[in-house]
């Protein structure tokens, strides 16, 4: 049927997830970290849709799950960026290494 095997999609998703994780953990800028997290969520969505296509193509659950993930990602980005802007206003920085008020 489809000439692209499922494993190809899964490999792309795995690599995308790892790159996103790297971006989220290594970036200094809080917005950069958020962007990394968005990549990871995208990788998850690739997996969800790929499994929907190859295992449960008649059902809705796979794609519906992806829609919900997209919704949550958007809500998360909205609140996270609002937090970043609030921190920027008071601390004049979005560098996570300098935002350490709660460490002690």
């Amino acid at each position: 049927m489809s000439s692209v095997p499922l494993s190809w999609y899964l490999i792309v998703a795995a690599l995308l997830f790892s790159i996103g994780a790297y971006g989220a953990l290594a970036r200094r800028n809080a917005i950069g970290i958020l962007m990394g997290i968005e990549l990871m969520l995208n990788a998850v969505n690739i997996n969800l849709v790929a499994f929907w296509r190859y295992i449960e193509v008649t059902g809705l659950a796979g794609q519906l799950f992806a829609v919900i993930v997209i919704t949550v990602a958007a809500a998360e980005a909205a609140v996270a960026l609002a937090l970043i802007l609030a921190i920027y206003r008071t601390r004049d920085t979005v560098n996570v290494e300098e935002i350490d008020l709660l460490k002690w």
Partner: protein, 166 residues
């Protein structure tokens, strides 16, 4: 190589290449542009998988809403974005790089060792998926539908309260 495979490889290269560009570039704004290219590549993968509706939604929400929101946030933090000498990584980045590569190799090895089922016969419901989704939201999946609106309301109120200058 079939046409589908060619398109897949193209989309995958765009996605992963842009993802690498995103995490390695110095400027956050350029990083966000790379991120948009990733979103476009993922949308192409969705469409290739027969999830046309989701591919369009991916562009609509990720590029049209989330990416624009991130670009706006970058514009609103000028003292950070205007500084060309700001280092892009924190102190732990070499360690993270090792761990991320380890994770990637582990996952890929796992995927390759598993015997995945082949694609099911019969074309997926590409056309009319939106109708099916609408029916699903009104019947089986009514709870996620309404919870999503509550989530959006909470996010809206929370973000407005946090972001506004008092």
């Amino acid at each position: 190589m079939t046409a589908e495979q060619v398109v897949f490889v193209l989309a995958a290269v765009v996605t992963l290449g842009s993802a690498l560009g995103m995490v390695t570039t110095r400027s956050v704004f350029v990083g966000a542009l790379w991120m948009i290219a990733v979103f476009g590549g993922v949308a192409a993968l969705f469409i290739l998988l027969g999830a046309g509706f989701l591919g369009i939604v991916q562009i609509l929400v990720y590029i049209g809403a989330i990416a624009v929101l991130i670009l706006f946030a970058i514009m609103l933090t000028p003292r950070v974005m205007g500084d060309p000498n700001a280092p892009r990584y924190n102190r732990q980045w070499p360690l993270v790089a090792v761990m991320a590569s380890a994770l990637a190799s582990l996952l890929v090895a796992l995927v390759l060792r598993t015997d995945w089922p082949l694609a099911q016969e019969g074309a997926p419901t590409i056309t009319g998926f939106a109708v099916e989704l609408g029916k699903g939201f009104m019947t089986t999946y009514i709870l996620p539908f309404e919870v999503a609106s509550v989530l959006l309301l909470v996010a809206l109120i929370g973000a407005i309260v946090i972001a506004r200058e008092e």
